[in-house]
């Protein structure tokens, strides 16, 4: 059991996860932002490590990634920053990024370093299922890391079953086939897609991401899934001055406290 499994065991609705890019807008505030998000009421976090060619991301996260790289962010530096993470932050944390930086770092070494820092899971959109299963799954298991798979409206039922089998914390449902930073698709066909997934009674919880930007879209997502992820909208907040102080208001605008 990692922190993600414990979270889902105790709470299974209205979970809010926040994504942000490490090293953006400033190089050294990675853990400060995590702490502020925990205090403000986020249930878990995804910390992105930047890549020069993020094909699944829209302009907002392309920009944060490039700025983070310009600031000097690297995987080595990120793990250095995360050394004392668990002295300050208790909610589950995932790392999210593209496969090439991990391959260069060494996949096994990456998993070990992540576990040492108290990371609970990893999301690598361009790591295929076949390569994960045949080459890397052992490293993830040995380090108690959950690998998170994505599902889109075009993913076949057979493949969703296979993803459910390989997953051990949650499944990331994309609200549409799109890059990050778009609007939430609220068409009938999307409702059908959520209903179809719900009817499959998967063993893993589902979290919806892409297009979640305010309370209305968050609530909509939580009707069909166990929670939702906010990314681009939060990264935009970080462009503002005094962003750390604005985090509590941001979180309550998405998920007002009961």
């Amino acid at each position: 059991m990692n922190r993600l499994n414990k979270l889902f065991a105790t709470k299974n609705n209205n979970l809010l996860s926040i994504y942000y890019t490490a090293g953006y807008p400033e190089l050294d505030t990675t853990v400060d932002i995590a702490l502020a998000l925990e205090k403000a009421g986020a249930d878990f976090l995804e910390i992105g490590f930047p890549y020069s060619d993020p094909v699944a991301d829209g302009p907002t996260i392309q920009h944060s990634s490039q700025q983070a790289l310009d600031n000097g962010m690297t995987l080595n530096l990120l793990f250095e920053q995360l050394k004392d993470l668990r002295k300050r932050v208790t909610i589950p944390i995932l790392l999210m990024g593209y496969v090439n930086p991990i391959v260069q770092f060494g996949v096994e070494r990456f998993c070990k370093k992540a576990a040492e820092a108290g990371i609970d899971g990893v999301i690598v959109p361009d790591l295929p299922m076949y390569e994960y299963e045949t080459l890397y799954a052992g490293f993830f298991k040995d380090n108690n890391l959950s690998n998170i798979f994505l599902v889109t409206p075009q993913t076949s039922a057979d493949r969703i079953r296979k993803i459910d089998e390989l997953s051990n914390s949650f499944i990331y449902l994309l609200s549409s086939s799109s890059i990050t930073g778009g609007n939430l698709d609220v068409s009938d066909s999307i409702e059908d897609y959520y209903k179809r997934i719900k009817a499959m009674q998967l063993k893993n919880p589902t979290i919806i991401g892409f297009g979640i930007a305010d309370n209305a879209t968050f609530k909509k997502a939580c009707e069909y899934a166990n929670g939702a992820i906010v990314g681009s909208k939060f990264v935009k907040l970080l462009e503002q001055e005094n962003y750390l102080n604005k985090i509590p208001a941001f979180i309550s605008s998405i998920k007002p406290s009961l």
């Binding site: 020069s52 699944a56 080595n76 090439n100 260069q104 959109p125 994309l174 086939s177």
Partner: protein
């Protein structure tokens, strides 16, 4: 084929389909259908007819007499520059548009660097009356302006890629993003032997017409089917793969791939991927790419926009690693000088890409009776500005 792709899309350690889930259904559909479509008799008949009547194939295998005297071997040029639209790129574009039609796709997207693949794609879309969107780096649009106009005349929409370094790799990223957002009705015509499986294999098959013809033509010229050397330039590597394809299993044939060294391999302004790169993942396949220690993709440089790519196709990475092909590199200066020499000795203005392959002739040690085939992948009309500025004509 000994050096072909396996069931999982790999050439030895290289290849695969490293795509986000959003692209999985598109790539999977292609993987399941591409072989049955391109092996279908009806497809083959239409492909062959268009290559003959529309492209003008077979392209000649020209015995270059004055080159042969200069270099002391029998030098043959495979004249892909004489194809409709001016380069080998049209072979793949024709194949993929016929495939897209049979997949029921209504919209085509493509990336382009120098603009040759963009022009070829715009051309086949006009031919078939299909909507066409070409992504091109903003920097490349400026340095290849005539090709931008050509694409527009052919009815394509040219979208500037403004992310990253605003060149070919960013145009490729933007095309992939478009495909993610339009997964059902759109086919992505990748222009080189790069990208997720099955693209490297599919594009190589469409380009393999180059070596299929060359083998027959060499036999007519010399009475021999196999040359001693086959040479071609490599950016992503599509003309080289087409030129090598039917010689791969003939181990006596030495295959020479020529990369762009830019201002020198170690100058910091180079695109010599096998010299400067390491194994990793780029644009959906495991291959060799130029990158930092931290795995960030490095922006390459070459005076030739068609060779200005930070990776090579996965099959090239494999041929390099197992030493089936030799990878050399040629600087901007060497290529431009070789381009001028080709004008003066043979009366052919080559594309600067192809001039890289010609420049390698200076570095070879041939025996007197060696037969050497070089792929003259494109014509130099698009490069006149660069030649004129360099030589001051």
């Amino acid at each position: 084929m000994k050096y072909g792709v396996n069931d999982q899309g790999y050439y030895g350690d290289f290849g695969g389909a490293y795509v986000p889930e959003m692209l999985y259904p598109n790539v999977e559909e292609l993987r399941q259908k591409y072989l049955s479509i391109i092996n279908d008799a009806d497809f083959k008949a239409e492909f062959d007819l268009l290559l003959k009547d529309y492209v003008g194939r077979p392209s000649p295998l020209y015995y270059a007499k004055r080159y042969s005297e200069k270099y002391g071997a029998n030098i043959f040029l495979k004249r892909e520059d004489l194809n409709h639209t001016g380069s080998h790129k049209i072979n793949n574009a024709i194949g993929q548009i016929l495939l897209a039609q049979r997949l029921g796709k209504k919209r085509i997207i493509a990336e382009t660097g120098a603009g040759q693949h963009g022009v070829a794609t715009a051309t086949v879309c006009a031919l078939k009356g299909i909507e066409c969107v070409v992504y091109m780096g903003e920097v490349d649009m400026a340095r290849q302006a005539p090709n931008v106009s050509r694409m527009k005349m052919l009815g394509a929409k040219v979208v500037p890629a403004r992310s990253g370094s605003k060149t070919l790799k960013d145009a490729t990223n933007e095309a992939l993003r478009d495909w993610i957002a339009n997964p059902v009705d759109t086919h992505y015509i990748i222009g080189s032997v790069v990208g997720p499986y099955p693209y490297p294999d599919m594009v190589a098959r469409f380009q393999s017409i180059i070596s299929l013809e060359a083998k027959k033509q060499l036999l007519e010229h010399t009475g021999k089917e196999l040359p001693e050397y086959v040479m071609a330039c490599v950016g992503g590597g599509s003309n080289a793969m087409g030129m090598f394809y039917h010689f791969l299993d003939d181990e006596s044939v030495k295959l020479i791939a020529v990369e762009a060294a830019g201002k020198g391999v170690n100058s910091g302004h180079s695109a010599a991927t096998t010299f400067l790169g390491r194994e990793g993942v780029l644009h959906g396949s495991r291959t060799i790419l130029m990158q930092t220690d931290d795995g960030q993709v490095v922006e390459p440089y070459s005076i030739s926009a068609g060779l200005d790519y930070p990776g090579i196709g996965p099959q090239h990475a494999h041929l390099y690693k197992i030493n089936r092909a030799q990878y050399a590199s040629v600087t901007d200066d060497e290529a431009l000088q070789a381009g001028l020499l080709c004008c003066q000795l043979e009366g052919i203005i080559p594309a600067i890409e192809s001039a890289h392959a010609l420049a390698q002739l200076e570095k070879m040690k041939f025996k007197k009776d060696d037969n050497v085939i070089i792929c003259l992948s494109g014509r130099g009309d698009k490069d006149l500005d660069t030649y004129i500025k360099y030589f001051g004509f």
